[in-house]
Amino acid sequence: MRISLTPRAALVALIALPVIVLWPLWWVVLILVAIWALVILADAFSAPNPRRIRVRREAPTQVRLGNSVRGRLLLTNPTSRTARLEVRDAWNPTAGLDDQRSAVDVPAQERRAIAQSFTPTRRGEHRSRTLLVASRGPWGLARRTTEVGVPGRLLALHPFGSRRHLPSRVQRLREIEGLAAIHQRGQGTEFDSLRDFVDGDDVRSIDWRATARRRSVVVRTWRPERDRHVLIVVDTSRTSAGRLGESTRLDAAFDAALLLTALAGQAGDRVDLICVDRIPHLSVLGSTRTTVLHDMVTATAAVDPALVETDWELAASTITQRARRGSLVVLLTPVESSVVHTGLLPVAARLARDHPLVVASVSDPALEELAAGRGDLESVYLAAAAEQARAERTGVSHALERVGAHVVDAPPERAPQALADAYLALKAAGKL
């Protein structure tokens, strides 16, 4: 506990000025100092002990980034004196607490609340580093301060802005599922039902055994297989730290991963997620269909890019360990020549042999702006350099497609939809 002075303590000392003018002696000054110190101490100790103030936090644990959430601090004064309190709740700045400092008077044997509003500006975990309660004396000359151990924690979740695209994709999914066009048996289909033969049906899908039991000809219908496995691998290395407009490349990648998770959940597929760079450091594995989206949003909230290169060999071994044969593997990594040179290409080739493989990349919209520049000589050179970079990206995606991966490369605002569409296309083609 610490005793500190208020500015009023200095103002009170001004009262002694006439005394000094009347008796200008050094020992008078000393006595006045002593009297002043006594008054300050008396005021400080007539304030209620801040340690006896009971503090309880009523705060939400999660908020979607971009939204506001309200919480309360409840201060109970069990003493018999009115407590004039100053409270500082030291959250980190990006937690977006509207006012860290507040003053409240709590009468004896009563309780008061301090309303708090959080608007986080950064995804991830936010903490209150400390909570300080200062109790001012009745004259307001001094205060006693103490630290209260009431930990605060708030998780700012990924905004998941792409969720507005979910209804349209789910509708497409239902169309695909109910589509009579999938009469052919494929790798990713399962038996649905028997129905009467109509003109145009493939004769190979006639179920002769059922036909024999009935008078009419009966065909089998197939639907996309349910309960498939999707493994999303998010690259969190230095290339994902690139700032594209407002957010980083990793944010867009998580946006895409979440939309795919929600869509796959609707399709009845199981989704797992692992984040890799030098080590596979975060994974959401084995969640049930109903909780997977929540688990994934919570788990990815605190993942930030790291300035390291991805170890693709290690990632490949983790993927083969986690993914069953035939399950869809989605690699969320930028398609850049540097990434390919660090060993993505052979790993992609190996994975594509056993799994349907989608490489989803978030491209830089600034590159297109640069490529369209025609203003002066400098912007033309910039456009040429941007075209070179785009040509390199195209070459890399061709190389990946040649080894059997499906490449999705889109700017951040279109990347989630593009990945969802690629998933739906695989479903429709019966490859999944």
Binding site: L22, V29, P93, A241, A385, R390
Partner: protein, 362 residues
């Protein structure tokens, strides 16, 4: 600069100033001091009042070259020493206030502004010091302005009288000279100035030449600015200082720690492109820039026309020809590997490629 240093060394070091005993300049008094030395008088130069008062007590003659510049304590100290000891005091052109410390009988009565020859009157006696006439320069030529004249009452004696008073006066061991020019190198030789000066200063055999100095510890005025403050100012100032300290401490209070937060790292993604563009521009590699622009445009045109990306330039040109209003030669010049010679050509090429793509888009 070297010449200046050499000149100053050759000239020798001396302090220049009015009535400085070492100065050979017009306002100095080296001539008088040297002649006094030749006459066997021990001349000692004093700059502090304490030394001059000590000399007075020891019975020497003390010449005060500028009594007007002395402060009250200095004058009191000199007057006390003069009363205690047997020494003679020679004051050069003192004013009324200065004189009041040493003699009540002598008072200033006027001034001589023009060059005047003042003759010793008949009743001078010893005070004339065997001089018959003194020449006082005009006020504008004199080192301290007009020469002063004094009136003597009671037991005092005076000599060299002009209209309003006398140039030389003596009372009670204090000799008053009305003009500082009597002692300067310039004017000591005129008329009988030298006789008066040399005889009056050499009478004791030892002379203290007192030149008041600004760095005399007694010279500073005792009543400083702080001395005018009332006695409660000190404690009051201390108290206000205490209050200010308390206020600063109270206002500067930091309520709890500064919260530091590690923020996630972000990287600008276009650095590589920008760097490459600057490299291209600095090296003037127009051909590489043109190739990049052409191949990008060609691949877009090919995909627009439904050609395979790998198809050769001839196939693309053949497919383009029916759709655009340009000759095959123009198209080949635009998309083919024609060298680009100037910066203007490169910019024009970029615009032409844009136009071509727009034509196909239509």
């Amino acid at each position: 600069m070297l010449a200046a240093i050499v000149a100053s060394i050759a000239r020798g070091y001396y302090r220049d100033g009015p009535l400085e005993p070492d100065a050979p300049t017009g306002q100095g008094s080296k001539a008088v001091v040297q002649v006094l030395g030749d006459l066997g008088v021990k001349v000692e130069v004093d700059r502090h009042t304490v030394d001059a008062a000590e000399a007075l007590r020891m019975g020497r003659t003390v010449l005060v070259t500028d009594p007007r510049s002395l402060s009250a304590p200095q004058l009191e100290s000199l007057a006390a020493a003069h009363e205690d000891g047997a020494g003679r005091l020679v004051l050069v052109a003192p004013d009324l206030v200065t004189l009041s410390y040493f003699s009540s009988q002598i008072s200033p009565s006027g001034a001589v502004r023009t060059e005047t020859l003042i003759e010793a009157g008949p009743g001078c006696g010893d005070l004339a010091h065997q001089a018959e006439a003194l020449l006082v320069p005009a006020a504008e030529e004199a080192i301290r302005g007009a020469a002063s004249l004094y009136r003597v009452s009671g037991e005092g004696e005076s000599c060299f009288s002009a209209d309003q008073g006398s140039l030389v006066a003596e009372h009670d061991g204090a000799l008053v000279l009305g003009s500082a020019d009597l002692l300067t190198n310039d004017a000591v030789g005129r008329a009988d100035n030298s006789a008066l000066v040399l005889n009056s200063l050499s009478s004791e055999g030892a002379l203290s030449w007192y030149v008041p100095s600004a760095n005399d510890p007694m010279g500073s005025t005792s009543q400083t600015l702080l001395g005018y403050l009332p006695d409660w100012a000190g404690p009051l100032l201390l108290w206000l200082l205490l209050i200010a300290t308390v206020a600063l401490v109270a206002l500067g209070r930091r309520f709890g720690p500064v919260v530091v937060e590690p923020l996630p790292v972000t990287v600008r993604p276009q650095e590589l492109v920008l760097g490459r563009a600057r490299l291209l521009q600095r090296s003037g590699d127009r051909q590489a820039a043109a190739t990049a622009l052409r191949s990008a445009a060609a691949s877009r045109l090919a995909s627009r026309l439904g050609l395979r990306r790998e198809s050769a330039l001839d196939g693309l040109l053949a497919a383009l020809a029916p759709h655009v209003g340009r000759s095959p030669e123009q198209l080949r010049a635009l998309l083919g590997p024609r060298p680009v010679t100037s910066d203007q050509d490169l910019v024009r090429l970029a615009h032409d490629l844009d136009h071509l793509e727009k034509e196909i888009d239509r």
